[in-house]
Symmetry: C2
Subunit: 327 residues, 2 copies
Amino acid sequence: MATLKDVAKETGLTVSTVSRVLNNRGYISSNTREKVYDAMKRLNYQPNELARSLSKQTTNTIGVIVPHIDHPYFARLLSSLETAAYQNGYKLLLFNSRERDEKEDEYMEMCKASRVAGIILCSGSVETERFRDLNVPLVTIERFLEYGTSAVECDNRQGGRLAAQHLLECGCTNVIYLSGENAVSMPADDRALGFMELCGQEGLHCLDPGKEIDARLYASLDYHAYIEKILTEFPEIDGIFASSDVIAAQVIQICSKRGIKIPEQIRLVGFDDSSIASLTTPGITTIRQPVREMAEMAVRMLIRAERKEIVPNRTTLPVTLIRRETT
Amino acid sequence: MATLKDVAKETGLTVSTVSRVLNNRGYISSNTREKVYDAMKRLNYQPNELARSLSKQTTNTIGVIVPHIDHPYFARLLSSLETAAYQNGYKLLLFNSRERDEKEDEYMEMCKASRVAGIILCSGSVETERFRDLNVPLVTIERFLEYGTSAVECDNRQGGRLAAQHLLECGCTNVIYLSGENAVSMPADDRALGFMELCGQEGLHCLDPGKEIDARLYASLDYHAYIEKILTEFPEIDGIFASSDVIAAQVIQICSKRGIKIPEQIRLVGFDDSSIASLTTPGITTIRQPVREMAEMAVRMLIRAERKEIVPNRTTLPVTLIRRETT
C-alpha cells in the first residue's frame, strides 16, 4: 500500500505539503491540490483518518444539531455552517432533532462517542439540563444555554425595533407581533421585546395576540389556523411583524384568500431573510440575520474552544432591514 | 474509566442489550434506551467509536453530497436522508458541493479517508469519470452514473406526462416546459421527454424555448431574467410546466409584476412538491417526488451494498400530481 512518502515523491512536493493538502490546512494552490489528488489516485493512496484520529483522540468533525432541516432558515444556516467548516478543514456530522428531547439526547451521546471536536446546537427546545457535564465545546446559535461554551445570536431586540420603526414609517397605526415560538425561553423572544419597546416609545398601538401559542405550531410549521384566528379577532390590524419568513408567507396566503391587499391594507415584515422571503408574491420585507457571519463565528468559536482558548460566552451580530414588496 | 460491563451491571441488562442500544441496532424500547443512557451518564461511560471503527475498518457513517443545501428540494431530501439513516443506526457526514467539480472530488476523498460505509450523491453535475474505482458503495439520487452502485430516481417521464395531461384538461392550448437544468445529462431531462410525448399524442401545441439555457442559472437559482425573456417571446403561452417549484415560484412573481393572472390566464405546474410549493400565493400545483421513500430506498441500498448483497442498479419510484391553486 502506498504511503504519504510515495505521494510526495510522485509529486515532487515535500511530505509536509502533501500532509497539508490532506488535512486541508493553510494556503494551498488549486494546482498543488490537484497534483496531490491525482498522485493519490494513481498510487491508490488511502489516508486513514480513523487511525490518525484515534491517536489524537479527536476528529476534524463538528456535530451539528438542528430542529428542522426542511425549514428554509435552518437550511440556509446549515449551508453556511458547511462552508465555514470546510474552509477550516472540518467536516459536519448532521443531526435533525425534530424538537424531540430524547432524540437530541441520543445525538449528544453519538457526537461524544464519535469524538467530535465540538457540537453546534441550532435553536431547538430541548431541556437545558441535558447539556451539563459535556466534555466537548458546545456552541449554540440563536439559543442561550447556561452550560454552553459560547452562544452566537443575531441582535433580535434591534430586529424588533427596526420592524416597528419601519411599520411606523409606513403609516401603520395598529400593529401586532405574530410568533410561533414555543414555551422555552429563547433569544428570539427579544424580537417581541424590541418591537413593543419601540411601539411604546413612539405611541404606536400594539395589539396583544394573547399567550395561547401552541408548541405544536412550531413543530408543524403550519400557522394558517392561528393567523385566521388573529385576523378575525383584530380586524383593525394594519401592520404585522412575523417572527419568521415562513409565518409571513402564510400571512400572505391568508390575506389573499380574504381579499386583504398587501401592502395596501396590511403591511408585513418578516424575520430571517431565508430563501422563501424572495420567492413569495409579493416578496417579503424582512429583518435579515447575518447567517453566513453567524455560522463562521460559531465554527471559529468552536475551534478556539477546542484549543482551550478563552472565547466570549455570548456574541451578538447586527441585523438589517431588507425592503421588498410587503411594505 | 467505566466499561460496557459496568453499564450492564448498573442497569441490570445484559452486555449485549447495552451494546445494541449503543449501536442503535434491532428493536429497543425507549424505556430500556433511557435506562442505558442514564447509567452511561452516571458512570460517565464513553464508548469509543473510533477504536471500534478502526478494528472494523468502517464506520456507521454515510457521506452525503448535495449541490445546494439551501434549495428547498435538497433541504427536504437531506431531512429525509437523516431520518432514514437514524432509523438504520447510521450517521450522516454532510458535504455541499455547490456544483464545483474540484470540491466534489475532494469530498469523495474525504469520505474515503473517513472510512464511510458508503456515499449518497444527490443530483449535481460533476464529471462522472471521477467516480471510477471507488472502493465504497455509491448510491445516487436523481442522477445516473455508469460507475455507481445503485441509482434511485422518481419517474420523471411519468411526471412530465402527468403535467401535460393536467394542463390539457385545464383547457390550455399553448404550453411550454421551463427548465433550469444544465448541460450534463440527468434523469430530470425525462420530464421534458414525457411532457412533449403526451403533447404530441394529444395534439397539444408545445412551444420550444430553445437550447440556450445557461448552466449558471442552475447554480444561482435565479431564473427571473430567463422567465421574462420567455414570456416576451411567447405571449401566446397559457400553460407552463416548470422543472422545479423554485422556478414555478419565480414564474408567479414575474406574472404578478406583468399583471398576468394565475391560473386565469396562465396555468402553472411545478415539480418536486418541496416546502416552497405550499408557501407561495397562489399555492403551486406540482408533481410530487416521493422524497421520503426515495431517501429510505437509497439508505437501504447502501446498507445492502455494504453487506455485499446484490442491489438493483436502477430503481424508479412513482410520482403524483398535487393540485393547488396555480391550475
